[in-house]
Structures are given as structure tokens and as C-alpha cells.
Symmetry: D2
Subunit: 138 residues, 4 copies
């Protein structure tokens, strides 16, 4: 139904020798956005998935514009866009969107697989998982 927006704090050290936020650091930002989604936005069933375990199976990311350090956080919009029995996909835009317009820095997608840390193997997407995943589906 709705995107979640995570206001991602930047660090001065996220910039590399080219004085832009390094391309690898964007993936770090996406990780923090996912943690925020599960820990703070998705409710008890999201936190349960974070506790039980979840694996990154695939990333894809397109870089659209250079990003420079600033004190204000950079917004990351994220949503779920494919949910099946064994995995699901989270989509993201790293984006400034205000009265002066919309600047997209990166567009990305991550395939995630629920994992059972205690048992040491992957698990199916459960009805409990689907309940919160569907709330963030576009």
C-alpha cells in the first residue's frame, strides 16, 4: 500500500577520494534502511524476522546522480515488490524530494530469503511474514 521512508544519516567518511559518497556505501545505506523497516516500521512480525534471520541473495543497483556529504540525512524510500514462498524483493530509491524537485541518486532492488538462524537453514515465507510484507507492497 505504501512506501516506507527512512531518513538515512550520512557520515563525512562515506565520501571517498573522489569526494562523493562511494558507490559501495550506498549498499550500506540500503542495509540500514532495511533494518529500519524491519525493526521500526513493520511491527512485531518484522522484528521477528530480524531476530530469526534473513539472508541477502541478490542486489542490483543503478547509480543516477552523485551524492555529497551533508548534515541532513538522505531519504531512502523502500517497498516490497515481489513476495513468493521462498523469497521476496525489496525495492528502493535514494532520493531528495522537496519543493525544488525530485533528485534520484540511486534505484536498487534486493532479493531476501528468510533464514532460521537456530536451525542453520533457509525457511519459507510464512503467513506472518506476508502480513507485514503486503503492507509495504506498492
Amino acid at each position: 500500500m505504501a512506501r516506507h521512508t527512512y531518513l538515512c544519516p550520512m557520515r563525512w567518511s562515506d565520501m571517498d577520494a573522489y569526494q562523493h559518497v562511494n558507490n559501495v556505501v550506498f549498499l550500506r545505506y540500503l542495509e540500514e534502511a532495511r533494518v529500519d523497516l524491519l525493526l521500526n516500521a513493520a511491527g512485531e512480525k518484522g522484528r521477528a524476522m530480524l531476530d530469526t534471520g534473513v539472508l541477502v541473495a541478490r542486489h542490483e543497483i543503478d547509480y543516477k546522480a552523485p551524492l555529497v556529504f551533508r548534515s541532513a540525512p538522505v531519504p531512502i524510500e523502500l517497498w516490497t515488490e515481489r513476495i513468493d514462498n521462498g523469497s521476496f524483493t525489496v525495492g528502493y530509491e535514494v532520493v531528495d524530494d522537496d519543493e525544488s524537485g525530485r533528485t534520484v541518486y540511486a534505484v536498487a532492488r534486493t532479493v531476501l530469503v528468510p533464514f532460521d538462524n537456530a536451525a542453520g537453514h533457509t525457511r519459507r515465507v510464512s503467513a506472518d511474514d506476508k502480513e507485514w510484507l503486503e503492507r509495504f507492497a506498492l
Copy 2:
């Protein structure tokens, strides 16, 4: 003609709280492998591209097996797999390959765009670029 193999040193701190090399760190490894390709394997024309500038336009990466810190470096095989006038693609496998078999930890691909740091804009793939890019084409 040939893959380049970069022996990527690992750091204990590459592991996250799950005690595996963090998924984001793999992208860091790929960056070091590309730097090694341009700086050490591709000769003078590769170093020229590193000096002039090159942008990451896109990454995709599939994670295949968990990787744990060890003193021995992890090999990264990389090659060029698409070369056109405005960009080219580097492919990679993060892989242990020895008498006991072949373990692939990740497979990835990066789209790169030559950049002119001095002029501040992208530039075409030149004949000089193609000379070394083709040597690493599969």
C-alpha cells in the same frame, strides 16, 4: 582472452554480527579487484583510465555461499564482457578453486563509464581503452 585473478586480502572486520563477511563488503572486494585490474594488470592504458576517471553506473551481485574470515586472501576472477562506445561491463566470480573443488561465493557484474575528471563529464570508450579491455574479454 583471459580472466584476471586478484587475490583479495580479507580483514577480520569484514565480518558482521552474523560472523560472515557482510554482503556489502563483497562490493568493496570487487572495487579492490577493479583497482588491481587497472593499476597492475592492464598496463599503461589501464592506469590512464584510473587517472582520467571511471564511474560505476550499475552493480548486480548474486550471493552463493557464506564466506568467513581467514588469513589467506580470497581469489576474485574478473573479465570484461561487453564493450560499447559509452560503457563496458566487468564480470566477476569470488571463488576458491583448488584440488578440493570449486566454491563460488558470489557472481557479479559492474557497468562502468569512462569519465573525464578534469572536464567533469563522461567520455566515450576510446581505442586505447578498447586495446586493454579486449585483452580481458572472455
Copy 3:
């Protein structure tokens, strides 16, 4: 006269394989606290030092208690504690301080030297520098 408090955002990835914030990451936090002091708290003359340049000459840090990732930022109190003609010292406490008590995670101190990036050499602490440095002296 007064300490400055920087509310330092944490990242899940700040934890290492021991599931605590890694000791090296504390130094990263201190860097962000210094950037915040110069960029946001010290006014125009602080921003001028950040633009002109400033070198880290020395750190010392004592670790007092383990710190674990959480969504809420960890406060860092910082102040200036020695100002002479060639350098100055910033002191810090990484600390939770609320109705339930005061937990100090680390106490640290950094010696900084003003630098002239354009000229490529260190410079003296100026009257302009001292103006804001003294406002944060204990």
C-alpha cells in the same frame, strides 16, 4: 563554557563479529562528532576551519563499557580542553545520561592542528579559531 552534545546515529554494521560496536568504530563516531561541532555548532568560524583544513595529530581513547546497536543515536559530549598557538585538544565522552543513570562507554581526547589545504602546510591557531574554541572550553 559548555559541552556540545552530538547525537550520533549508529549503524547495524558498526557491530563486529563479537556483536558489539567495534572499538575502531568509536573513532569514527568521534570524527562525526567533530564534524558536527565545526559544521553546525561553532558557527561561521568553525566552518572556516573545516574548509581551510585541520589535521588529527593524536588520539587517545579508553573503553569503559560495551555498546550495542540500537535505533536511537548514542550521545557524544565534546569540548575543547587545551588551546595553544600550534594545536588544540578536543575531549569527548560517549555516554547515555538519562533518568536511569549515566553510562559512559568511552572517554577520549584528540589533538588537532590547523592546516592550510591550499598552501599544503600547518598554520597557527588564529584569533578567529580561538573565538569559537573558547566557547566550548570547559
Copy 4:
């Protein structure tokens, strides 16, 4: 009796926006040097300490010269310099030392405390610890 030398691999991303190895990254290098000392140089009793646990209680570091990324590793010389019943100190120099002279980039010192991960508390420096610690005392 003897210093241990760890040849520390550098990463291009160790440089910050000032195009030098960032001051915080030096502490990361020291961590890798300690891991190498315990894992590879100190023998079975060093590895035992790494497995049982060891805490960083304090760092101090003086920066002497700027360091820039290169393909060749930067040598870190390290040794033990104080051993008592509850803790010990490791000293380090980050240094190039060859026919063209000796360039010291940083001098540092870390206080370490043996820890019992299973029991969750610190432990005394044992006779087994002292056996290898003394081999690296100056």
C-alpha cells in the same frame, strides 16, 4: 626478543576525501596486525587467546606522516611492551623501512585485557599467555 612485522594490505577505499589514508583506518590496520600476531605469529597459545577472547581497553596513536594508497602493503611492526596480571600492552609502528630510509607514519599503543567469552568476564593473564607475550617483548 623481537618485533613482529605484519605486511598490511591497503585498500583504495582507505583514503578519505582528503586523499590520504583516513586517521580512523590506521586503527583498523592495527587491529589486523594484532589478529595476524595472535593467529599466525604467536603459535597455538596465541590462537587460544583469540578464541577465548581479548578486549581492547585503550588506544593511543600519534600520526607522524600522511599515507597514500598503493598496491604494496604497508609494514606494521608490533611488539609487547608491558605484561602484568590483568592486562598487557602492544606497541606498533606503521613504517616504511628500506634502502631509501625509514618513514614512520604512526606510532601507537593498545592496552588489551584477556576475556573469557564463555563466562562473560575478564580473566587474568595466564602462564600460557605470558609464554608467547614474552617472545615478542622488546
